[in-house]
């Protein structure tokens, strides 16, 4: 399935900003269930130059600065992405979760070493012992890892209330675990914390969801979890919707947590009060619908 995703972030300031520096993760990755066909990032006022690079986790990062006074900043990203369905796995065919832990801990070989870094605490996911307690029931001894992941995701889906007003990006993850409410980002962080607390590598995936009234998190940027499973690579799982992402999920970037892949961040000189609005639209591209 080919999608056109448009992601527009608008900042409106009460006082002019004289300089701002920004770093964005807005270009979808290629190679992981998907291929990026085309993409463009447009900024108003025009910064003159956008500098792109590949970050530590292999995501494309774009840097730009604006040196003219402005009261509004608009960042639009427009991407054409082909998404392939995920392979359907039999949970019983995946290795026991303790074996995954042991293999990553021994980290022989590139993939396991690479996965190992996603076991440790990170800026937004500093999980205490209560996370291990929370993870416990989903991971009884010997359970295949995918079975555990599905169960954990289901428990988050059923036990946590989706409430955009309950948390902000600054709400600590243990508070989310305690209060059991939040948004996709919080649920992803809780699940990552739970997995890491029992020694399983987990990463944070930032992306989009095909616009669909039945799914939570469409029309805005979305986030889910990816867990390492030797022999099968990384398995995506979306605790906000309790499903395994497939053709409806478009991956932008991944990292240890939100902090590594924040879609838009910036530092502005001046500005006074700021208002932010984010609009995401993901629709199947007509041409590709016809050929599908």
């Amino acid at each position: 399935m080919t999608y056109r995703a448009t992601h527009i972030t608008t900042y409106t300031y009460s006082e002019p900003v004289s300089i701002c520096h920004n770093e964005v993760h807005l270009r979808p990755r290629s190679g992981y269930r998907q291929t990026l066909i085309d993409s463009s990032i447009t900024v108003l006022p025009d910064p003159g130059h956008l500098f792109s690079r590949t970050d530590y986790f292999g995501n494309e990062t774009t840097f730009f600065s604006i040196h003219e006074p402005h009261s509004r900043l608009i960042i639009s990203a427009d991407s054409l992405v082909e998404v392939r369905p995920a392979t359907v796995l039999d949970p019983e065919a995946t290795p026991a979760w303790e074996d995954v832990r042991a293999e990553v801990r021994a980290h022989r070989g590139g993939a396991a070493l690479e996965a190992f870094q996603f076991v440790f605490p990170s800026q937004y996911v500093k999980a205490g012992p209560e996370f291990a307690t929370f993870a416990g029931p989903s991971f009884p001894a010997g359970r295949p890892i995918l079975g555990g992941l599905l169960d954990l995701s289901h428990r988050i889906y059923t036990q946590f209330r989706y409430d955009p007003r309950a948390t902000t990006v600054a709400t600590p993850v243990d508070e989310v675990l305690h209060a059991r409410h939040g948004v996709c980002q919080d649920f992803a962080h809780v699940m990552i914390g739970a997995l890491r607390s029992i020694g399983l590598p987990a990463r944070y995936v930032s992306g989009y969801l095909r616009s669909n009234p039945n799914l939570v998190g469409a029309e805005e940027s979305h986030a889910w979890v990816s867990a390492y499973c030797p022999g099968h690579g990384w398995l995506d799982i979306d605790p906000t919707n309790d499903l395994l992402p497939s053709e409806a999920h478009i991956t932008l970037a991944w990292g240890r947590d939100y902090g590594d892949v924040t879609p838009v961040r910036g530092v502005a000189l001046g500005g006074g009060e700021q208002l932010i609005s984010v609009r995401v639209r993901v629709a199947p591209e007509k041409a590709s619908v016809a050929t599908d």
Binding site: C20, H21, F63, S65, P121, Q274, I276
Partner: protein
Amino acid sequence: MQGPNEKGSCVAQGWDYSPNAGYYDELATAQGTTRLHWRALMEALKASGPEDLASRWKEAQRLIRDNGVTYNVYGDPHGTDRPWPLDPVPMVIDPQEWAGIETAVAQRASLLNSILCDLYGPQRLLTEGLLPPELVYANPGFLRSCHGIRVPGDIRLHLYAADLARSPDGQWWVLSDRTQSPSGAGYALENRLVSTRTLPDLFRKTYVRRLANFFLSYRETLMSLAPGHRENPRIVLLTPGPYNETYFEHAFLARYLGYTLVEGGDLTVRDRRVYLKTLGGLLPVDMILRRQDDGFCDPLELRGDSMLGVPGLVEAVRAGTVAVANALGSGAIETAALSPFLPGLSRQILGEELKMPSVANWWCGQEKPLEYVKQNLARLVVKQAFPGTAQEPIFGGRISAAERDELIARIRATPYQFVAQEQVALSTVPVWTEEGLHSRHMVMRVYAVPSGGGYKVMPGGLTRVSSSLDTMVVSVQRGGGSKDTWVLGRGQEKEFSLLKPSSQTLEVSRATFDLPSRVADNLFWLGRYMERVDSTVRLARSALPLLSQETDAGSATGLQAAVGILTALHFVRDAAEAGGPAVVNADLVSMIFDSDRRYSIGRIVHEARRLAWLLRDRISPDAWRILNRLDNDFCTRRPAEPFHLLGATNLLDQSIITLAAFSGLVMDGMTRGQGWRFLDIGRRIERASQLLDVLRHGLGNQVNDESGRLAKLLEIADSSITYRSRYLTTMQSDLVIDLLLCDEANPRSVAFQFARLSEHIAQLPDSGSLSRRSAESRLILSLLSSVQLADMDKLMEADGRGEWAGLLSLMDRLAADIRELSSVLSSSYFSHAIPSQQLRHF
């Protein structure tokens, strides 16, 4: 306590020294004899006697205080500006022993630099299993955004420091490594400057090795590693600011190395290049010597919760337009957890054995060390393995069995976050007190800089001593002290210093255009406050006869004028409203002696000193000494009541002289650059507005020719002699007012200040053109012409109510315009204070 008394013994009258057995003592052998390399020093000290050392030492401490050698103690409201604690007896090291230390430290610096280059590059140490990946992956000091950034010359450690300790068997060990922005090299240098002035003959006789060469290498290295290879790269020293613990050192090193001292707000990034914001515009910066921790250097890509740094800096470094020393991310290896792996890494990377061992560390992330730690917890110190966690070290021997179990459980949960260190019985060294020599534990910090493909070690260092023999904690923050470190050489070295001779005082800027706007702002206010001190002192002095019981009728009107001015400026309360002249007298005494009072001279002096403190890198040691002395003078307690008048007279007379010395230094010693200009603009503006206050509140509204009053105004305005030499006549109000208001030849007149301001403003970078005048040039033009065109006869006419209506309204207008001028200048030149903020994200 008596020891053997033959030659070489360390016992002499007043020099008894009996170190505690059980530790290695730097000075005395176990048999009680003085070690060979200490003998020259000890004999010389003995020969001159303790009284002589005491007096030299008093002098040294005055030097430390006057030079403002300070450190700040965090979390202590009175912690800013503690005098730096230096012990007069240096730590002495034998040349041969030093040669061993030198090669070992140079080797370790090279090794650590290679490790950093690998971790921020190919990471072979991880893929080949030479280093446990936890040390990188779980380490918040490893900055992923800095991975892959190339650095000039593959140098990431531009300055390395190691804390060395000596165990009872005489062996040196590395206690810890400092790789991020090691502090103390500047204090080591300052210690040296003080000790050479305290013990000059001795210093020459014993062939102590010099430090200047080391700093020269440091400067050459930084210059050669600046990207772009410009002939004269602009290097700045980035400080978190005056409240940082070692700010003195930042200012001192900036001055010594000849770099501009900047704070994050002085730098800006444009088109992936770093610029210094100066009065003259933006100037490109090639290298940043940072004294700020990694995480605080860029709020965009590093720690977002701090606004201390320079947004966009990492991207500029990535673009290769600027280099940061030490390289961003070098804090990753500032951990004791690395040290167990160094012997192996040294063999692998350098093909050499590690020359100096680290104090035994057990990183709990591996099975065997973890087991050892559990078994031996009682004799270990447990620390957090990674920087950024503010946990205090835990001494396993000092906690209960239950606490030990709890600690073991915590270690088990995340073993990779803990490291346990063997407690070292640190060696001892004598420190001098008035009562004689005492032994204290010591740690020696040594420094290395890249040079010729390897590292060069400073022949000396910063020796720190514990506050008592009972503690092994050696920290100036915790009340310990410091020593100069004398590495003995084998002959005389050429004398040479990077410091310019101190006769070149108040050098405000190497290149005047390098002046950061923030500094211009502070200089402007320093000028204003110094002038305010001057005029307030004169004003208070003019009112002093109030305190004596005898005043004649003639001087009464003069005193009335002085009190009128003091009342209008809130220094004293109105006698009529507050209940009689006694209140006025009490207030006058209080404004002179009570520096905690809001309206007092001491308060203004404090403010001036605070501004000078912010400008320590810009102000010559002499000028700083003057301000310190002035501040001290106004902090002393008031004398007993019968001596109020005498004490106040002495204090005020003395301060007038001190202030004259300060302005003399400024006028004679300061380069006529933009810095001087802003300082002088501040002075002129303040003097003009003070004069206007004096005239406005001292003349009284009614037209009068009271000679006592007029004489007093001349006295306050320091123009009595000018008046007498010019007019040789009795007091006449029109002549007095003309002299103080309109006479451009009188340096104490309002007109003179306006004329100087007009010259200054014409020289400012944004003074505008003839066709388009800037706001400040319009204002000063109008001010100057108002006094030039003033018609004295008309001004002096009495109106219907017998008042000087014209004069008073002119002075009111001038006072308002001069206030406006001050604020216009601020907004044109100092408007750098707009705060940065993070964009909210979603």
